[in-house]
Subunit: 426 residues, 2 copies
């Protein structure tokens, strides 16, 4: 029976889940995979936490050097999050000849080029399935299943916190701030929710997934990013009436004119498979030239689902030769020939409040036609206090033209305001 | 650049799709995978077909021996279907030291033990992602992603033909025979549709997927199988009113009392992710002890999606050391300790036609209570010609008890008939 010694750096939610899976299923792995996997070391400042999980006192290391010099350890699992000290610890592990399994999306997204270089130099494996979408098998699907495809598009709901908040806002019509507070109480959002609600977390993941999909490094700094803090529940309800669900989408497209990568709230048709991905569930919808459409769906976060991805990587590392290096040129920047598109093409939903007098609608429409924007649907509600709520859906148009149009409308005297602009995924 | 010579046995739908992908994307594989993949031989009785696809005359082999003795060929793709001559050809290829990629679910399901033994003896790879659910990455998800999980349940819509027929029956209320004919005209069903509509195809795939999931061979002969030929559109419409979709489900469960494996039409709640898998789309919904619920969705058949899985396996074979052998004991029979459950537990939908007179309902109910079956819902429609249409939904109960109850009801004088019995997935 092959012995596999594991060290876990950080016994937080994911580290604790990984420890639990490895210890509870140890006999199962012996029987079905011929692997005797044991946790030979943990690095956790909170010793009480480690002891309460059942870690033996002797397995609690005081520093990374103890982990690196322990010859019983083959694989180091980094689940600390953040850049430092995670990065130094991962480099130390690789430099001591240990393979690394990480769930750290920020670290892998920002420093994959550096980590992979050191891994290669030392002949070690570097595994990162757990960085994206928890237990959902998306990294390996891109590496080992869909690699015969030219992938043209990927769209994902890849952040559980924001999907939970948007689902609740849609279900009960409550405003963002109220639902965020509830989510924090229930543990679905962190005390400092910035990384999730402002789209950073989704952008890190999109950087990793789109680099694999498009075979060139997509730095997260190239990703257009807009969070959900400004989403108005009124728009969500209008969208529902029109047959759309509001989601924070991570979108990557690779077409003739270049690559576009963006994270923002958007309306998606309610019969699209992504529209029914609710609560803290996540999904990635991938389109390739031969596979057509594929969707991978499941729990995108949490102790055990993310632990599932980590343990999957540990078993893969222990049972496969070769080291799982990326299929993209793992550089710091994109291939110099890569063109990034910033003027996105999309349909748009606009909500306006218009003065209730003759000729206003005609003048309003002239702003759209001036910029070549074609209207697909108009809903005019009953006037209230002299103001008419108006919903306009456009055909496909360019971001820059919409911006110009909105600016013009907002400075025209006969229209009070464009209250919201939401991209609509056709 | 690594040279990879491929032979394709059979240039039917999937073989033709594979040929097209490999030739059209050849430059893409050179650039992104460092692989120079060329088709060095095809075995196809219809030479015209081969030539029309663009195969050079010199690459068309006359027999399997020519393929086996061609040292330019590293990987043999078997996409002929059926047992013979596919089996002999695969064994010949393995015995001549070539790795095999197959989409042949019947062959792999029935003879995986024999094929894998010969592959191992010759140190060759045996790859079969394309046997199940077309381009959807489900085999490798079980082998390389979810292998840390104790998988407790899998449910799948894994046959495109039957899902297309049931979707159309649901959309337009047409009877089975009529929709089947239309599906045959459109190429969604074969002239002899038995393998699809009677559930054989789904049972072969369930055998492969459940063997991987439950780590013991699940012979397809252990799978309870019921097709869709008797599905009545009236029941589908009643189901819709009650919030259910009718699907041909392949179900595998691994619990304390044993393993159950079955393929049959069933109602599934309309908010379950599988309920909105429509037309020829397929999906597998897997539940594991750590990953929780995962769904893998996409096109389960067709030239290019299945070709995507085959090309994925070719690239995997060319870029990975190790040979991808199964994680289950690949024997002909299940592990002797395996207990197969045949008396399934389920909720049930029954449609009855009852004589319209006093006391009938009470007598009817007594048949259910006699067998300890608890009723969750009753819908009584208006009587027509003295007959009352009646829908009964039960709480969870056992198959044997339902059968006894239905037999008793059908032999009682005051009830005309139990017209249909449909399992309901809770």
């Amino acid at each position: 029976m092959k012995k596999v010694g594991v060290a876990i750096l950080g016994l937080g939610v994911v580290g604790g889940g990984t420890y639990k899976i490895l210890t509870e299923n140890a006999e199962f792995y012996k029987k079905n995979h011929g692997l005797d996997i044991t946790v030979e070391g943990v690095l956790e400042l909170n010793r009480e936490r480690a002891l309460s999980l059942g870690v033996e006192e002797s397995k609690i290391a005081s520093n990374i050097a103890e982990i690196c010099s322990n010859s019983d350890i083959d694989i180091v699992v980094e689940v600390m999050g953040g850049i430092e000290p995670a990065k130094s610890f991962v480099l130390a592990a690789l430099n001591s000849g240990k393979s690394v399994v990480t769930s750290n999306k920020e670290l892998y997204c920002k420093f994959s080029h550096e980590l992979e270089k050191v891994a290669k130099k030392n002949g070690c494996g570097l595994y990162y399935e757990a960085t994206c979408v928890g237990g959902v098998p998306v990294i390996r699907a891109l590496l080992d299943n869909l690699q015969g495809n030219k992938i043209t598009s990927m769209m994902g709901i890849i952040n559980g916190t924001t999907n939970y908040i948007l689902t609740k806002m849609s279900d009960c019509g409550a405003p963002y701030g109220e639902v965020l507070k509830e989510a924090q109480k229930l543990g679905y959002a962190e005390a400092n929710p910035t990384s999730d609600v402002d789209g950073f977390d989704a952008a890190y993941k999109l950087s990793i997934l789109s680099s694999l999909s498009f075979h060139t490094k997509i730095p997260y700094t190239e990703i257009y990013r807009e969070g959900i803090a400004d989403v108005d529940p009124v728009d969500i309800q209008y969208g529902k009436r029109l047959g759309y669900a509001m989601k924070l989408l991570a979108i990557g497209k690779n077409g003739e004119n270049g690559i576009e990568v963006r994270v923002h709230p958007a309306f998606i048709k309610s019969n699209h498979p992504l529209a029914s991905v609710n609560d803290s569930f996540n999904a990635v919808y991938i389109t390739g030239d031969s596979v057509d459409d594929v969707m991978l769906y499941g729990r995108g976060a949490g102790a055990l689902p993310t632990g599932s991805a980590i343990v999957g990587d540990i078993i893969y590392c222990a049972t496969h030769q070769g080291n799982n290096y990326s299929t993209f040129k793992n550089t710091e920047k994109a291939d110099p020939s890569t063109k990034f598109i910033k003027n996105f093409e999309s349909e748009y939903f606009l909500r306006l409040s218009v003065n209730d007098k003759a000729g206003v609608l005609s003048k309003l429409m002239s702003h759209f036609s001036k910029h070549g924007i074609s209207i697909s649907q108009v809903i005019q509600e009953k006037a209230e206090n002299g103001q008419v709520p108006l919903i306009i859906l456009t055909h496909s148009t360019f971001e820059n033209d919409i911006k110009k149009t909105v600016d013009e409308i907002n400075s025209a005297s006969d229209v009070t305001k464009v209250l919201s602009v939401v991209r609509v995924i056709a």
